[in-house]
């Protein structure tokens, strides 16, 4: 190759790369230009599975639906208690079989159509008729709805109910849009995308590029305070390190669902504020009592509360928090996590099962579980070794390291554990058949405790129950709490049920992991975490945070991405330069070849 041509090509090549690279460096300092839409850029590790509020699945699905849609009554910012939303409130009749809910006047859908109580009745009926189980649980069989006028809904239940005040976590759909889908088969209904969406919330979903990004645009008819950003753009990062890097570079303003391993890197950057939320899921170790299927064959010794209690005593939950979650979690206690605080039962110290392997050993010795030659204890009643088969959901954050730690913890008390790391689908198979002794999976509930409490009820064996634990007193308490309206009275019964399940040890709440979010404090400010100060920044329960968040003065994220930082003519010049260089090179080479030939 001719030396001059080679130099020309090299210069042109480097020039092109630098030209591609340089404008991006300018991105971080891009400032809001007059008339340019302001964009809140959000990084997430989960793709948008669906834009359909009836089939939400991933964390991103919930985030996007929560930003767009309103519930009848919404979750309060502080403690998720029911607050006025589309409805101002709901009042029961004397025997609590009929609730009258009154709605705000003048609310419009994003397409300008008026919102009425009929939209609420339509949504609820659609869920009941299609039997969309995630939501249908809020309605007793035979529940009906009437709308005497545009601003009133009468909820009629054949049995006394307090469900309207739960409040039902159901996003209200526009009847004038969704009625065309009402007669579809359930699978087809759940596949309806409805983009651009018609909503009453502060933003509407206007564009979805699955696997890449999705954009919400400000709803001009929103009934609440006007949001401060024109658009919210979610960007998918399938690589968590890359998401952290994008935040550090200022390519995104806020990101959620970070791995705890990234905490040191995020916290070391002064321009980044980290939010450790009490998350809406927790890590749970369940014992199997058997009965799920004919193949169910749990270790009989697990029926003995002494064995279960000794195992609970031998597990160092703080060790799990420190080692499996890098400290980004709280040790678990009762069977409902810390959101909402009202229903979580903080076990009094006197009633707690402490971490005390020595006491656990003594308990087992006293109960006759002697150690065999290999150090593993033997059940005096059956002669079985205390050896547990323990499937672990390897896709649940922290579950596998927690399981590995538990192998060591239980070895100290003569209980052998064989861990079986499996994926979610296989976990379900274990759950279904019952051929396991203990397993580690997660639970995620909702603000109302009813669903979570139900999962431990006797009649849920083969349905929602992990290990088919049966306790009539627990069943009575859970049934009782369902229809208590007074929050304090209900709290007392819920806590009684949780205290009982804690003491009986059908399962062990190992840890309440934090959800880690982070944002650029030099780019955005004024988030409203929900619930309370340690709540979610990216909406999970209500959309208030997306209304209050605003750009930091003078450094707003804008749609004017610096990818356009160099003028188009500049790019024409660079690309033209490369072309000329290539032309010169080939002309020169052809000449040399001809001369040589």
């Amino acid at each position: 190759m001719n030396r001059t041509a080679r130099r020309l090509l090299a210069v042109a090549g480097i020039g092109s790369v630098l030209a591609l690279a340089v404008p991006l460096s300018a991105t971080t300092s891009a400032s809001s230009a007059e008339g340019t839409p302001t964009v809140l850029r959000v990084g997430v590790p989960n793709d948008l599975t669906t834009a359909n509020p009836l089939s939400l699945r991933s964390g991103s699905d919930w985030n996007v639906a929560t930003i767009q849609y309103d519930m009848m009554l919404q979750f309060g910012n502080e403690d998720l208690s029911p607050q006025p939303g589309l409805a101002d409130g709901c009042e029961p009749n004397k025997d609590m079989t009929e609730w009258t809910c009154t709605f705000q006047k003048g609310v419009l859908w994003s397409d300008g159509e008026p919102f009425t109580a009929a939209d609420v009745a339509f949504t609820y009926k659609l869920i009941i008729d299609q039997d969309i189980s995630t939501y249908a649980q809020y309605f007793s069989d035979g529940t009906t709805f009437e709308t005497p006028d545009d601003n009133t809904l009468v909820w009629k239940s054949p049995t006394p109910t307090s469900q309207p005040l739960t409040p039902p976590w159901i996003y209200i759909l526009p009847e004038h849009v969704w009625s065309q889908y009402a007669d579809l088969e359930k699978a087809d209904l759940r596949a309806v995308e409805n983009v651009p969406s018609v909503t009453t919330g502060p933003y509407t979903l206007t564009e979805v590029n699955r696997g890449q990004n999705w954009t919400l645009t400000k709803n001009p008819n929103y009934w609440g305070d006007e949001p401060n950003f024109d658009e919210i753009r979610f960007q998918l990062f399938t690589n968590q390190d890359a998401m952290a890097q994008a935040l550090k570079n200022g390519d995104i303003d806020v990101a959620t669902y970070f791995d705890s391993a990234l905490l040191p890197s995020l916290e070391s950057d002064p321009n980044i504020t980290v939010q450790r939320n009490a998350s809406d899921w927790w890590l749970n170790l369940a014992f199997n009592f058997g009965g799920q299927s004919p193949d169910s064959d749990p270790l009989p010794a697990l029926q003995d509360k002494t064995v279960r209690t000794a195992i609970a005593m031998a597990i160092d939950k703080q060790g799990i928090v420190d080692k499996a979650y890098d400290g980004a979690a709280e040790p678990g206690t009762s069977f409902i996590h810390e959101i909402p605080q009202r229903w979580h039962y903080d076990v009094p110290e006197a009633d707690q099962i402490p971490y005390d392997p020595d006491a656990a050993n003594a308990m087992l010795d006293d109960a006759g579980y002697a150690r065999a030659e290999d150090g593993v204890r033997v059940d005096p009643a059956t002669g079985d070794r205390l050896a547990l088969r323990m499937p672990i959901s390897q896709e649940t954050a922290g579950a596998l390291p927690a399981g590995q730690l538990i192998v060591g913890y239980l070895d100290q008390i003569g209980v052998e554990v064989k861990i079986l790391p499996v994926n979610e689908g296989k976990m379900y198979s274990y759950w279904n058949t019952g051929n396991w002794d203990a397993y580690i999976w997660y639970w995620t509930g909702e603000p109302d405790p009813n669903y979570q409490l139900t999962t431990l009820m006797s009649d849920q064996c083969g349905e929602l129950s992990d290990g088919c634990w049966k306790n009539t007193e627990y069943d009575r308490l859970v049934t009782q709490q369902k229809d208590i309206i007074d929050p304090d009275q209900r709290q007392a019964v819920v806590h009684d049920a949780l205290a009982l399940s804690y003491a009986e040890v059908p399962s062990i709440a190992l840890a309440y992991p934090n959800n880690i979010e982070a944002y650029r404090n030099d780019q955005v400010t004024n988030f409203t975490p929900v619930p309370g100060d340690t709540g979610y920044l990216i909406p999970n329960y209500n959309n208030v945070g997306m209304v209050t968040v605003e750009p930091v003065s003078g450094s707003a994220s804008t749609g004017a991405d610096a990818s356009t930082g160099m003028s188009a003519w500049g790019w024409v010049a660079v690309i033209g330069g490369v072309g000329v260089a290539a032309f010169l090179f080939y002309r020169r080479r052809s000449r040399v070849d001809d001369e040589e030939g």
């Binding site: 591609l20 690279a21 340089v22 991006l24 460096s25 971080t28 599975t49 669906t50 359909n52 089939s55 699945r57 189980s133 995630t134 359930k186 699978a187 596949a191 995308e193 590029n209 699955r210 696997g211 890449q212 753009r233 998918l236 990062f237 399938t238 690589n239 390190d241 890359a242 998401m243 890097q245 994008a246 550090k248 570079n249 390519d251 499996v422 979610e424 689908g425 296989k426 976990m427 379900y428 198979s429 759950w431 279904n432 997660y442 639970w443 995620t444 083969g462 349905e463 929602l464 004017a560 991405d561 990818s563 356009t564 188009a568 790019w571 024409v572 040399v592 070849d593 040589e596 030939g597």
Partner: protein
């Protein structure tokens, strides 16, 4: 003779495709677990509801019944519906094809150009500093896992230097014309570079060793004796004869264009077929997995067929084998 050769190759391609079609169905069902069971915790479903979901997916029927339905639907052009999104598989795959074709097409083209040039120059000047440097460099790159290489490029050029975006196909801005092209090019640079560096090294090694084999052949000495310059001897006589192994590699590489690169697309959050495959595996999305594997396999089989047929034209001796 030539027609018979082509027909024979076409026949084998059809048999291979039929095998792939059947294999695809059973391959993913060997995976432990239940796709409907994945919804158990995330959608808080009961056992009864999961059974209902299984029926919606068609998984409640006997395996062979599912298989015949799958074959029938595939032959009628229906690849099914995604378990994850409820969207048609063909539509889902179509939306991811262009980014992958762009990424793998550009990356592979650069790799071919770079690898062949380095291989030719290194092989022709065996033992030179250039040869040693390029050979050791290529061996290093060839043996480097592409995931690690991608992460290094990401950390250095997107992280420390901030020159390029950390991921995605474009910035998502409402750009058009040249500004959009530049935006896409910036996002393409690092993943394509990762691909080009890894693949380029293999082209370099193959081309170099082929050239070394023919370099001392009699016909090369004859060309020199005729008074041709070194450049002419290399370009007109040595390289064409050493090119056949690289040619096969090139054609097959383009066959993999539709398959994408799972590792690179995942690292750079690049929304192509590779990332779709990763997401589908994660969600036990059988229909999408079957669709992706089928289309990728068809592309590879066609590329292989083209290689075989073209090979026959390039080197007639092959047809006689």
């Amino acid at each position: 003779m030539r027609v018979r050769y082509v027909v024979r190759k076409l026949g084998w391609a059809a048999v291979t495709l039929m095998f792939v079609l059947c294999f695809n169905f059973f391959l993913f069902r060997i995976m432990p677990g239940d796709p409907a069971g994945l919804l158990a915790r995330s959608q808080r479903l009961t056992e009864t509801e999961i059974a209902e979901q299984r029926a919606i997916f068609g998984l409640d029927k006997p395996l062979m019944s599912q298989f015949w339905t799958y074959l029938h639907e595939t032959f009628t052009g229906n690849l099914g519906t995604s378990y994850l999104t409820g969207q048609p598989v063909l539509e889902t795959i179509s939306s991811r094809v262009w980014p992958t074709v762009l990424l793998v097409g550009v990356g592979t083209s650069v790799a071919i150009w770079l690898g062949l040039r380095m291989g030719i120059k290194g092989g022709w000047h065996r033992g030179s500093t250039y040869d040693r440097t390029s050979l050791y460099g290529s061996l290093t790159l060839y043996s480097t896992p592409e995931g690690w290489l991608g992460m290094m490029l990401l950390i250095i050029f997107a992280g420390s230097l901030g020159w390029f975006p950390v991921g995605g196909y474009d910035s998502g801005e409402d750009l058009s014309g040249l500004a959009h092209v530049i935006d896409v090019a910036k996002h393409l640079f690092l993943p394509a570079a990762t691909l080009a560096l890894g693949y380029g090294a293999s082209y370099m090694i193959v081309m170099r060793s082929s050239l070394l084999e023919v370099k001392d052949e009699d016909f090369v000495a004859t060309a020199r004796a005729k008074g041709l310059t070194e450049t002419m001897v290399r370009r007109r006589h040595a390289v064409p004869n050493a090119f056949l192994p690289s040619f096969t590699l090139i054609v097959l590489s383009f066959g993999f264009v539709l398959g994408g690169s799972i590792v690179i697309e995942t690292i750079f959050s690049y929304p192509g077929i590779g990332l779709l495959t990763y997401q589908a595996i994660d969600a036990y999305d059988y229909p999408v997995l079957q669709g992706v594997f089928l289309i990728s396999s068809v592309a590879v089989v066609i590329a292989n067929l083209l290689a075989d047929i073209t090979y026959g034209f390039l080197d007639p001796r092959i047809e006689e084998v």
